[in-house]
C-alpha cells in the first residue's frame, strides 16, 4: 500500500514581465508512489526540478510556483488526504510537523540566530500540542534528544555556538520531534564534511528505525543514495527518467542518462579514466523537444527529437523513460 501517490504532477514557476509570461517547467508530468516504511531517493543535477517536486508534494506552494495539474494523495492509516485540495494554509499547517515534515538544506538559515535552540523546540511543540507545561516539554525533548544521541546542553546554545554538523543534527531533531509519518529531506548532507555527512546519514537511519517513518531523500550525491535508500528515482530536466530498487539501479542502469551519471562517478581505489557527456543540462524555460536528453544522448535516434517517452515499467519495479526500451516492455 503506497503512503504517497503522485499522479501527473506539473508544477511551473510562472512569472510575468512586461506582459510576457515566462514558464519554468520545473516539474513536468511526474508520477510515482512511495511505499510505507521505505527510504525513497530522488537524484538529479541542480535545476532538474527535484527541490520543486519536494515543495509541491509537501504543499509548500507559493507564487511564482503554481501546480497546474496532478494529484498528490497521502494515505495515512486513519486518514486519506489530497494535499493540493487543502487550499487553506491553516489546514496544511495542521499536518506539517505532525504528519509530514521537512528537513531543510541550510541549517544556518533555518535556526533563528538570536534565539536559543530551546526556544525553537518550544515553537514547534507549542504550535502543535498546545502550550504544554515545562515538565512535559522537557520530557518530550529529552526523550527525543536521548534517542538521537544528542547532548542536552545544546538546548541552551545559540546556533552560532554550534558547528555546522551539530546544527544540521538539531535541524533534523526539530523536524522529527513530533514523529511524523513522512520525512522529506532536501539535500541534508550537502555542504557538510564527509565525517559529519556520515553522521547525518547515520542519524536519519536511526530515526527511521525508531519512529518507523517513511523517508523521501533528495540529493544530487549518488554515493549518499547508495548508502541510504531502498528505491531511487533519477530526474532530468523536470521529468523522471528512471526509477528502480537502488541495487538494480546501480547494477543495471538502463536510461542513457543514468548510465552516463554512474560512469562519471569517481571512486576511491580506481584511477581509470572517467568521462562525462557533452553539453549541459537544458534550461527549464526552454526545454528540448521530444526526449529532453536527446541533445546529449550518445544513442539518440531521429525519433527522439519529436517523441517524448513515457516512464514505463520494463522489469518488475524498474521504470525507464526511453524509446530504446520499447522492445522490452
Amino acid at each position: 500500500m503506497p503512503i504517497l501517490d503522485i499522479r501527473g504532477l506539473k508544477a511551473y514557476y510562472i512569472t510575468r514581465k512586461y506582459g510576457h509570461a515566462s514558464r519554468v517547467r520545473a516539474v513536468d508530468g511526474v508520477s510515482f508512489q512511495v511505499k510505507k516504511d521505505e527510504i525513497y531517493g530522488i537524484a538529479g543535477e541542480s535545476g532538474c526540478g527535484k527541490s520543486t517536486l519536494l515543495k509541491a508534494v509537501s504543499g509548500l506552494i507559493k507564487p511564482p510556483l503554481q501546480v497546474l495539474e496532478g494529484e498528490v494523495v497521502y494515505d495515512f492509516e486513519d486518514q486519506k488526504l489530497s494535499i493540493l485540495s487543502l487550499r487553506e494554509d491553516r489546514q496544511r499547517r495542521r499536518i506539517r510537523g505532525v504528519r509530514i515534515s521537512l528537513i531543510p538544506q541550510g541549517s544556518m538559515s533555518v535556526l533563528n540566530p538570536v534565539r536559543r535552540i530551546r526556544e525553537s523546540f518550544r515553537d514547534i511543540i507549542d504550535a502543535h500540542l498546545g502550550t504544554v507545561d515545562e515538565a512535559r516539554f522537557n520530557d518530550i525533548v529529552r526523550t527525543h534528544l536521548d534517542a538521537l544521541g544528542l547532548d542536552w546542553s545544546v538546548m541552551h546554545a545559540f546556533p552560532h555556538q554550534l558547528s555546522g554538523g551539530m546544527r544540521q543534527r538539531i535541524t533534523i531533531a526539530l523536524a522529527t520531534i513530533l514523529k511524523p509519518d513522512i520525512v522529506f529531506a532536501d539535500e541534508p548532507t550537502t555542504a557538510l564534511d564527509v565525517v559529519v555527512q556520515r553522521g547525518v546519514i547515520q542519524l536519519i537511519k536511526k530515526i527511521k528505525r525508531e519512529q518507523m517513518n517513511t523517508v523521501i531523500m533528495v540529493t544530487h550525491d549518488l554515493a549518499v543514495h547508495a548508502n541510504l535508500c531502498d528505491r531511487l528515482a533519477i530526474m532530468y530536466a523536470g521529468k523522471m527518467v528512471e526509477e528502480a530498487d537502488v541495487d538494480a539501479l546501480f547494477s543495471n542502469p538502463r536510461h542513457p542518462y543514468t548510465i552516463m551519471l554512474l560512469k562519471s562517478l569517481p571512486r576511491l581505489g580506481d584511477r581509470s579514466v572517467r568521462t562525462s557527456a557533452p553539453g549541459a543540462p537544458p534550461s527549464l524555460v526552454n526545454v528540448p523537444s521530444g526526449c529532453r536528453f536527446h541533445p546529449r544522448c550518445p544513442e539518440a535516434m531521429e525519433r527522439c527529437r519529436s517523441e517524448d517517452p513515457e516512464l514505463v515499467e520494463v522489469e518488475k519495479g524498474h521504470r525507464v523513460a526511453c524509446l530504446l526500451e520499447e522492445g522490452s516492455r
Partner: protein, 342 residues
C-alpha cells in the same frame, strides 16, 4: 617530491644541503607557514591558528597535481590565500622559484606565473559583464602580446575545450557552471602560468559535467607542464586526479604521500576516519557500523598535543600532552605518535 618535516632533525639536515641548488630545484616551497587570526577585542579577544607550521614543496622540473584535502575549517583555503599573497603569513614563508613572495607578490611577474581558479564560477564573473572581456583584459593587462592583438585568448580557450564563437558576447547567466569554470581556467592560462591554485574548483559544478573539468587538469599537467595545487574536500576526485596528497586537520598537515598510498592504506587515525567516511557509490557496500561523532570540533584548534586526540580511539597520554612531530614512514610523513618506533 618531498615534504619537509618541521622536526628539528630534518631542519638540520636541510640546512646542510647547498643553498643554491635548493633554490633552483623547487617551483614552490611552503616553509613552516603559520597564520594566526584574531577575533574580538579587549577581554573577548581570542586567536585561531588557521594554518599551523605547514610545509610542503613542488619540484621545478616535474609538474604534478598536489592535493590539499581536509574538512571545512582545516585551513586549506587559507594556505591557498597565503600562496597567492592575498594574506600575509604570521610566520614562515612561501618561496616561489626560490624567491620569498613577501617581496614578489603583487608584481606582474609573480602574478603571471601563479594563477588562481576559484570555487564558484557564478561569483567569479560579474553578471553584467560579457565573459570574453575577462579574457581580453587579462591578455592586455599582462601585456602578453602586441597591443590590440589577442592570439592567446583563442589558444587558451582551445586548451579547455571551448571556442571563441561559443562565448563571444555572452553573459555569465547564459552559460552552464561547467562552461564558466572552463572559461575561468582559460583566463588563468592566458599569462602562461607554471602553477595553478584551484580552490574547490568543481564543487559547484553538476555531476555530469564535473569529470570534464577534472580531466582537463590531467591534460594541462601533461601537455602544458602546469603544476596544480588542488584544494578540495572530495577525496574521490582527489584520488582520481592527483599525484600527491596532504591531509589537513585544524591547520596542520597530518599525513602526506602519494595519493594511492595515503588513501589506499591511510596511516594517521584521522586519515583512516576520513577514508571510511567517503560514501561508496555502490549499494552492495553500504556502511555497516556507526562511527562516533564529536561535538567539540571547534575546540580542537586550541588543543595541546595532537589535534585529533579528542576523537582518536588510539589516543594515549602522550597525545594529549605533546604535539607529534612528522614521522617518516615508507616515504610518507605522518604526524602521529603511533609511528614513533617506525
Amino acid at each position: 617530491m618531498r615534504v619537509h618535516s618541521h622536526s628539528s632533525q630534518s631542519r638540520n639536515a636541510q640546512s646542510s644541503e647547498p643553498l643554491v641548488q635548493k633554490e633552483h630545484s623547487k617551483l614552490l616551497e611552503v616553509d613552516n607557514l603559520t597564520k594566526v587570526f584574531t577575533k574580538g577585542q579587549g577581554f573577548a579577544k581570542s586567536t585561531i591558528t588557521a594554518v599551523n607550521e605547514v610545509s610542503f614543496s613542488l619540484e621545478l622540473d616535474r609538474p604534478e597535481i598536489f592535493t590539499l584535502a581536509g574538512e571545512s575549517g582545516s585551513g586549506k583555503s587559507t594556505v591557498a590565500k597565503l600562496i597567492l599573497g592575498f594574506e600575509e603569513p604570521s610566520s614562515g614563508a612561501v618561496r616561489f622559484r626560490g624567491e620569498d613572495i613577501a617581496r614578489t607578490r603583487g608584481k606582474a611577474k609573480f602574478m603571471k606565473d601563479v594563477q588562481p581558479v576559484f570555487q564558484n564560477p557564478f561569483e567569479t564573473f560579474n553578471p553584467l559583464k560579457r565573459i570574453d572581456t575577462y579574457l581580453y583584459e587579462t591578455e592586455r593587462n599582462f601585456r602578453m602580446s602586441k597591443a590590440g592583438e589577442y592570439p592567446l585568448v583563442e589558444r587558451s580557450l582551445e586548451l579547455v575545450g571551448l571556442s571563441l564563437t561559443e562565448i563571444k558576447d555572452k553573459y555569465p547567466s547564459e552559460m552552464s557552471g561547467g562552461q564558466l569554470q572552463r572559461v575561468s581556467i582559460a583566463r588563468a592560462l592566458i599569462p602562461n602560468p607554471s602553477l595553478l591554485i584551484m580552490d574547490e574548483p568543481v564543487s559547484m559544478i553538476d555531476a555530469s559535467l564535473r569529470m570534464s573539468v577534472i580531466n582537463l587538469f590531467k591534460e594541462l599537467k601533461r601537455q602544458q607542464g602546469v603544476s596544480i595545487i588542488y584544494i578540495t574536500h572530495d577525496l574521490a576526485t582527489a584520488y582520481y586526479v592527483s599525484d600527491r596528497i596532504a591531509i589537513m586537520l585544524r591547520g596542520q598537515i597530518v599525513e602526506t604521500g602519494s595519493v594511492e598510498e595515503v588513501l589506499d592504506s591511510p596511516l594517521h587515525p584521522y586519515t583512516q576516519l576520513l577514508r571510511a567516511s567517503v560514501p561508496v557509490p555502490d549499494p552492495a557496500n553500504k556502511w555497516q557500523k556507526d562511527i562516533p561523532l564529536s561535538d567539540i570540533e571547534i575546540r580542537e584548534y586550541s588543543r595541546k598535543g595532537c589535534k585529533f586526540a579528542g576523537r582518536c580511539s588510539k589516543a594515549e597520554d602522550i597525545c594529549n600532552e605533546c604535539e607529534p612531530p612528522d614521522y617518516r614512514v615508507n616515504g610518507r610523513y605522518v604526524k602521529c605518535h603511533l609511528y614513533k618506533t617506525a
